[in-house]
Symmetry: C2
Subunit: 220 residues, 2 copies
């Protein structure tokens, strides 16, 4: 049974990121954004939605640059703080004891303590309503070395990332429950890695027949 | 220490949704999208990025409508399948034993089995590169009743949602690690709920002084 709702976007979970920027006078600010998303693979582009009342809106509109910093679960208090305090009142990054660092491709700084930093140049600003959408090209990223193995593969499962759903922060588990393409995989390694992951039909069957399942378990 | 990367968007985690549409001849299709995001709170709007080669691109461009269906972790095999098989070759929803249902506000159908269904009308299509970005207004949502309490509050933590990071599907935990505003909360209930969540400085201190921590634990 379903219930109908109006008037809000119930897309969940979403990423939660801290966006850093620097205005033309060199003033820097950081603020938290949950309305962020990848919008194109090539050229690599992402979007962030910002209310015009935000200080960062002014800074980014002026310089057309920003950095998307991805925090980990150990930084959830700091991430929240950057979302509820205004840069007009406080120097948030200084108060947190965090560090602005010079970016590699743009003048907007990144935050050293956050494990992933994505440097972006704004291509277009679209007025939508209470938020304006900033479409930006990714010009480079820096990632903590402990997340990268000897073959250069990035291990996001080691990063302790979190997501945001309906006003709350949640950690991801460390173990994935599937990999793109695993549902039709012919590669034995991939099949075996996820063979414990049931189909929805199997899940429903087991949920509806818990006795059968218990019996089978007992026999073992 | 950081390592530099170029050429891709490493924004993680992102939502993973199944988008349904219906063309003017009444043909229906479902496909999986990871490049989705909220873009405006009022009017409620979201975006999805689609490659023009996709069958759903044709359908949605024709009717300017789609539904964003949010799957749960028990539907990860089905979600993956909808992302790797083309609707040109197979009727994916029929093959899965899932059900197209008539939407309440638009002609594009939703999938009954997915717990959350967001009905959308496209406002603008922006060509970016290999993906086009579809900006759409949310005209209504249907949500499984077991996710809604007697006061009408939606409990996403009961929904067993998943997210997507770097090609793999991950479950969210059921327990949140913070709520928007908790870092500066004055409300005692909120303070107490998350008092076990450390600041980053406390986390680093404990990590760097594990002996101290052990000693303290032993004393107890």
């Amino acid at each position: 049974m379903k219930q109908l709702f109006d008037g809000s976007v119930v897309l969940n979970p979403v990423p939660v990121v801290v966006v850093t920027s620097r205005n033309s006078e060199g003033k820097q600010n950081a603020f938290t954004v949950a309305w962020a998303g990848t919008v194109c693979s090539d050229p690599p582009m992402l979007s962030i939605a910002i209310r015009p009342s935000r200080l960062s809106y002014e800074y980014i509109k002026e310089t057309m640059e920003f950095v998307v910093n991805i925090p980990n679960i150990f930084q959830v208090r700091e991430t929240d703080y950057c979302g509820v305090i205004s840069g007009r009142d406080e120097d948030k990054i200084k108060n947190l004891g965090f560090t602005y660092k010079k970016s590699h491709h743009i003048d907007a700084p990144y935050i050293e303590e956050f494990p992933i930093n994505i440097e972006c140049k704004v291509k277009e600003i679209i007025h939508l309503g209470v938020h304006d959408l900033f479409l930006a090209e990714v010009v480079g990223s820096s990632i903590n070395k402990n997340l990268i193995d000897e073959n250069g593969k990035i291990h996001f499962e080691r990063a302790n990332l979190m997501c945001y759903a309906h006003g709350e922060y949640y950690p991801m588990t460390k173990k994935s429950i599937g990999k793109f393409g695993f549902s039709i995989a012919k590669n034995l390694e991939l099949i075996n890695k996820y063979k414990h992951i049931k189909s929805y039909k199997e899940y429903l069957n087991e949920r509806e027949n818990p006795k059968k399942l218990k019996k089978r378990k007992k026999k073992k």
